[in-house]
């Protein structure tokens, strides 16, 4: 085996990966084409989804995905960033390894297991305790009206938050650890408090990377299927109340795929898949660019010194 043969083999494997991406996009597009042809833009603005009469509007699903994902980032954001900062800046060395393992395990728990936990533990807890309390005390807000249901938008948001926490924490931590010590030492020498070192020296430097970490968490939440399906209630409603059952792009595909007998129904489901594909593509590219840009800046800085 010569040098070139070995290089060639790894290059072929890599080329295969690139082709796979194109093939995937092409195949999904092809399968969705019937629906794209028929519904066009109507598909994403119509809220009418009726397989029997072959009318397909995906708005309720898009709404469910967008809202549950936003809730997830809202809930997960502060906690993840806090934990990432603690892990990268403050944790004692031995605790750090243990905590990093905790984050790894949290990330490795399958979404189906989260779903199981969510539907049998989280949802009843929300229905019996949290949601009645929110309704009583904050019921004047449109978000907290209606009867507590448990399997609803709020549960989906919390579920997704729990699942994106390890993603955001792990990436943000890695980003924070690439911040050179030169950003910290002058501040320490000036007598800054530990938090000031982080706020003035570290966070502004790592800002793009942290935003990238958020965006990756967002990408994970958008594509998440099982846990959402099991707690969101699976009703295509558009309601301001977080206590209302809803539906999401992924959950409708899983729920209806097996029953989709007509070509157009199947194609419409895959059309939702196509939207999902495009959306996650956009989000991930954005996230990677942000993270790259930061590590690139660090590299450049190191070369200059």
């Amino acid at each position: 085996m010569s040098r070139d043969l070995f290089r060639g083999m790894t290059a072929v494997l890599s080329l295969g990966l690139v082709l796979l991406v194109f093939l995937m996009a092409f195949v999904i597009w092809q399968q969705a084409e019937a629906s794209v042809q028929k519904s066009g833009w109507e598909f994403i603005v119509s809220r009418h989804w009726d397989p029997v009469h072959e009318e397909f509007g995906a708005l309720p699903y898009i709404y469910g995905t967008v809202i549950s994902t936003m809730l997830a980032v809202l809930f997960a954001g502060p906690v993840s960033i806090g934990a990432a900062i603690y892990l990268a800046e403050f944790a004692p060395r031995r605790t750090k390894a243990l905590l990093a393992f905790v984050v790894d395990v949290l990330a490795a728990i399958p979404s189906i297991v989260y779903g199981l936990w969510g539907s049998f533990v989280l949802a009843p807890f929300l229905r019996n305790y949290i949601e009645p309390w929110l309704g009583k005390n904050l019921g004047f807000l449109p978000f907290f009206q209606g009867s507590p249901f448990g399997l609803d938008m709020l549960a989906a948001g919390i579920m997704l938050a729990i699942m994106s926490i390890p993603v955001i924490t792990a990436v943000a931590r890695e980003v924070l650890e690439t911040v050179p010590d030169g950003q910290r030492e002058p501040l320490i020498a000036m007598g800054a408090t530990p938090w000031e070192v982080v706020r003035i020296g570290v966070i502004p430097y790592a800002r793009n990377g942290i935003v990238g970490a958020f965006t990756l968490g967002l990408g994970k939440a958008i594509g998440e299927t099982m846990a959402v399906t099991m707690v969101i209630g699976n009703e295509p409603k558009i309601s301001a109340s977080l206590f209302s059952p809803a539906h999401s792009m992924t959950s409708v595909i899983v729920n209806e795929f097996a029953q989709a007998t007509s070509v157009l129904h199947l194609s419409s489901l895959i059309h939702i898949g196509l939207l999902l594909f495009g959306l996650t593509l956009l989000i991930n590219v954005l996230a990677r660019l942000l993270i790259y840009q930061m590590s690139w800046r660090v590299k450049k800085r190191n070369e200059n010194t």
Binding site: Q31, I112, A287
Partner: protein, 282 residues
């Protein structure tokens, strides 16, 4: 001045405290999830679970043996695709096409792939395999899980290889070893631990994947070892049993979840303990 100083210090303590609390919350969350699963799952974790097929509704003593076996078959198939492909691409990214535009393109493709929701991969494999073979099959499930593994393994392999000091490559080349031996016999073994841990994380990731299996391997109530037949798997059975309206089935789902998590976490732990080699510090 004194008051200002105190104010700064208190604020700092508060914020550091918040960060510590967040970490605590995350750890608590893990305990909460693991605790419930152990609590509900442990009573059902007996020999029946691993040796019996599911019992009809209302009958006692059914198990999910076919699902445990099926999961291992699916994971095995996924590894056959995901590990060589992922490690090969990782080697390309780190050692061959590192600074070329072509390497950047591949890296980009890896990023895109790792961001594709698994449900999409499921639909993709459904369209190219299930439709063509006119049947849901273990093969399709393995291919879908394998595709999901590839970018995970590739990215990690690249990252770990980057941590191996350049001096080792030079030293090996200077001994008059051909490039491929330098990489396969010296650099790869040096990075074996990190690559192995990455592979187990990827395996752990796909072991619990459920969404793609809806479109590929589906499920099966009986033993099925044929690669071209639908096959049962733990995640799919957990879903079916959890969403069914029978309390006894819910129990089986909890136990399934416990078994699944045990497989995943013990795999991760074993990799850390058993794999030889070096922890390179980032």
């Amino acid at each position: 001045m004194k008051i200002l100083e105190n104010h700064r210090l208190i604020w700092s303590r508060l914020m550091v405290g918040f960060c510590g609390l967040s970490t605590l919350l995350i750890s608590g969350l893990l305990l909460l999830v693991l605790g419930y699963i152990t609590l509900h799952g442990l009573p059902g974790a007996n020999l029946n679970f691993f040796t019996r097929l599911p019992a009809p509704v209302g009958m006692e003593g059914g198990g999910l043996a076919q699902a445990v076996a099926g999961s291992f078959i699916l994971i095995g198939l996924a590894c056959l695709i995901g590990i060589p492909w992922g490690i090969g691409a990782g080697i390309f990214l780190s050692e061959v096409g590192k600074d070329s535009w072509w390497g950047e393109g591949v890296r980009f493709a890896v990023d895109v792939l790792s961001g594709v929701p698994s449900i999409i991969t499921g639909i993709f494999v459904y369209s190219i395999l299930v439709v063509k073979l006119q049947s849901f099959s273990a093969l399709a499930g393995g291919v879908a899980l394998g595709i999901i593994m590839v970018p995970l393994v590739a990215r990690n392999t690249e990252g770990i290889l980057q941590l191996v000091p350049q001096g080792l490559r030079e030293a090996a080349l200077a001994l008059g070893l051909p490039f491929w031996k330098v990489i396969l016999k010296i650099i790869l073994p040096t990075a074996a631990r990190g690559i192995g841990i990455g592979v187990t994380l990827a395996v752990a990731g796909v072991a619990g994947e459920t969404a793609p299996l809806f479109f590929t391997s589906l499920s099966n109530n009986y033993w099925s070892l044929g690669l071209l037949e639908p096959i049962a798997s733990l995640p799919m059975e957990i879903f079916r049993y959890a969403t069914a309206p029978f309390a006894a089935w819910h129990e089986l789902a909890w136990t399934g979840a416990l078994v699944l998590i045990t497989i995943v976490v013990s795999g991760m732990l074993l990799a850390r303990i058993l794999l030889p080699g070096y922890n390179f510090r980032r």
